[in-house]
């Protein structure tokens, strides 16, 4: 049991709480078992994903990708304690924020930030595994793009895995945000983007 926890979201496979951790407020991600899954499979997947998530979070953070800082991993209870990022989910930004809905320059700026962050993630051979606009945030304090939810992440240097990662993101964009096709139109941005990613 997590002390003084407030449930803020019930995700597909984890409950997200906020709870005090030492002197700070932490996000506590607690994976729960799935009734529909065979117990052996369930245990295997849960353990593997907690470990992978913690590892990938830490590795990204170390390499300069803005991710929630890792505080503590409780493997017994499949729970991860991490930094509480104050900011906005990109999905909400694109759906409700009129500045982003109308302003193409703002959209381009955001697309570029996403591109740069993902280039950094892939540079260190981390495959996010669940890139959707629900898993990207903008930090309130400095408008930096934060990548969250490494629950399906793994390490691979195969170009195919990285490509699938981007393909998943493109599809998430097109299915969730109809008419966002042009955010994937690299155009002149592509050069700058490639420069950026090779420099890293």
């Amino acid at each position: 049991m997590i002390e003084n926890a407030t449930l803020i979201k019930q995700g597909a496979e984890a409950r997200i709480h906020t709870a005090p951790f030492l002197t700070r407020t932490a996000i506590v991600k607690e994976r729960f078992s799935k009734a529909y899954r065979h117990p052996i499979l369930d245990k295997k997947l849960t353990t593997r994903r907690v470990n992978q998530e913690a590892r990938c979070l830490f590795k990204c953070r170390k390499s300069g990708v803005d991710t929630p800082a890792l505080y503590f991993v409780d493997t017994e209870n499949s729970t991860i304690y991490m930094e509480f990022v104050r900011g906005t989910i990109v999905k909400d930004l694109l759906v409700t924020n009129s500045v982003y809905i109308q302003n193409k320059v703002k959209q381009d700026e955001l697309a570029k930030k996403i591109g740069i962050a993902l280039a950094k993630v892939h540079e260190i051979d981390i495959i996010h595994g669940d890139l959707t606009t629900s898993n990207l945030m903008l930090r309130e304090s400095n408008q930096s793009l934060v990548v969250i939810d490494f629950g399906l992440s793994y390490i691979s240097s195969l170009p195919e895995d990285k490509a699938v990662d981007l393909y998943v993101l493109e599809r998430a964009f097109l299915s969730t945000h109809p008419n966002s096709e042009e955010m994937f139109d690299y155009g002149d941005e592509r050069e700058a983007w490639l420069d950026e990613s090779t420099r890293l």
């Binding site: 990662d165 998430a172 109809p178």
Partner: protein
């Protein structure tokens, strides 16, 4: 209004006749006749032989459908046929008949996307309003949700369809294809006890099945696993993957309903697992039985008639077939924007 539907995108040949009461909105199923091309254990169905089967049986099946429905030819408003996706030769063999009858009877013709047929039929039978749709069959594996006049694909298989994985697995074990390989796997799985670990590949809302198939081929040759245990483990693994991506899609778009359609959708274990997942989320699961899950002519007639009622007609010279026809290519004029 009455429509007749022609389906033959895979090994099932189906003719269905449906009536829509345009005033009350009531839908009447007048006939749903199916003839399946069943191949011997250890083999699959090939496009050429399947086309031969369809050509051989289509006329008697049409006659039987007309007889069952008690509908006069003059009462039929529109002829609907599967435009795609599916196997080329079987699709064409059925489309030729639909086209000929359209000319002979002087009726308009509507080409229907097979996946849309499944979705609309499932919605009609279960009365699910705006569900996340899991479409699982021998040729397709997609997680779909509706938005702004299109059925949008949120997740799908990156290689083979789940039904294809099951069919080919049944071939490895030499299980019977009668009535369907999936049914026989389901029956064997009920006797399985031991869970054998298989690759579990979920990437975001997408899944991959090809690795499981090659893995199971190796295990079968190396270890002494009973066919029952293999069937059980295969079902538990692939269905867990499907339920997981469905749940992820539900969480992503904030929906509480799930509709399962397609041939694999009549598997009771899949329905049960989906129900367990949905229960944890406080939602509802909708599924249909073998009559509407497995490919049939009714769903083509139903989806075709919905389109026809909005004024959609396929001109004869464009009444072609296509093996590749994605679910999100169809403009869904008959539903509200949200």
């Amino acid at each position: 209004m009455i429509a007749i539907g022609f389906e033959g995108s895979a090994n099932k040949l189906g003719i269905g006749i449906i009536e829509h009461n345009t005033e009350s909105g009531v839908v009447n199923i007048l006939a749903n006749i199916r003839h399946t091309h069943v191949t011997p254990p250890g083999t699959g169905f090939l496009p050429r032989d399947t086309a031969v089967h369809h050509r051989e049986h289509i006329i008697p099946v049409v006659k039987e459908a007309l007889k069952t429905s008690n509908v006069q030819i003059k009462d039929i408003d529109v002829i609907c046929y599967t435009k795609g996706p599916g196997m080329g030769a079987p699709l064409v063999s059925v489309a030729v008949v639909a086209r000929t009858l359209a000319l002979l009877w002087n009726k308009p013709i509507v080409g229907v996307n097979h996946c849309i047929g499944h979705i609309e039929m499932g919605r009609e039978i279960t009365k699910a309003d705006n569900p996340v749709v899991l479409y699982v069959s021998g040729g397709n594996t997609q997680v779909i949700a509706y938005s702004e006049h299109r059925y949008r694909i949120f997740g799908e298989t990156l290689d083979i369809a789940v039904g294809n994985c099951l069919d080919r697995f049944a071939r490895i074990l030499n299980l019977s294809n009668d009535p369907s390989p999936g049914y026989n796997i389901e029956q064997h799985a009920k006797k399985g006890k031991k869970f054998i670990e298989l690759p579990y590949t979920v990437k975001g809302m997408d899944v991959s099945f090809s690795g499981i198939l090659s893995n199971i081929e190796t295990i079968k040759n190396e270890q002494s696993c009973s066919p029952e245990d293999l069937c059980f483990s295969l079902q538990e693994t692939v269905f867990a993957m499907l339920v997981e991506i469905t749940e992820r899609a539900m969480a992503h778009i904030g929906s509480k309903e799930v509709l399962i359609v397609g041939g694999v959708g009549c598997n009771l274990r899949l329905q049960e697992m989906m129900a367990q997942m949905v229960e944890q989320r406080d939602g509802k699961v909708f599924a249909t039985d073998e009559r509407f899950c497995i490919d049939n002519g009714i769903m083509i007639a139903h989806a075709g008639l919905l389109a026809y009622r909005t004024g959609f007609i396929t001109p004869l010279e464009r009444s072609t077939c296509t093996q590749r026809f994605r679910t999100d290519e169809v403009y869904v004029a008959w539903r509200d924007a949200n």
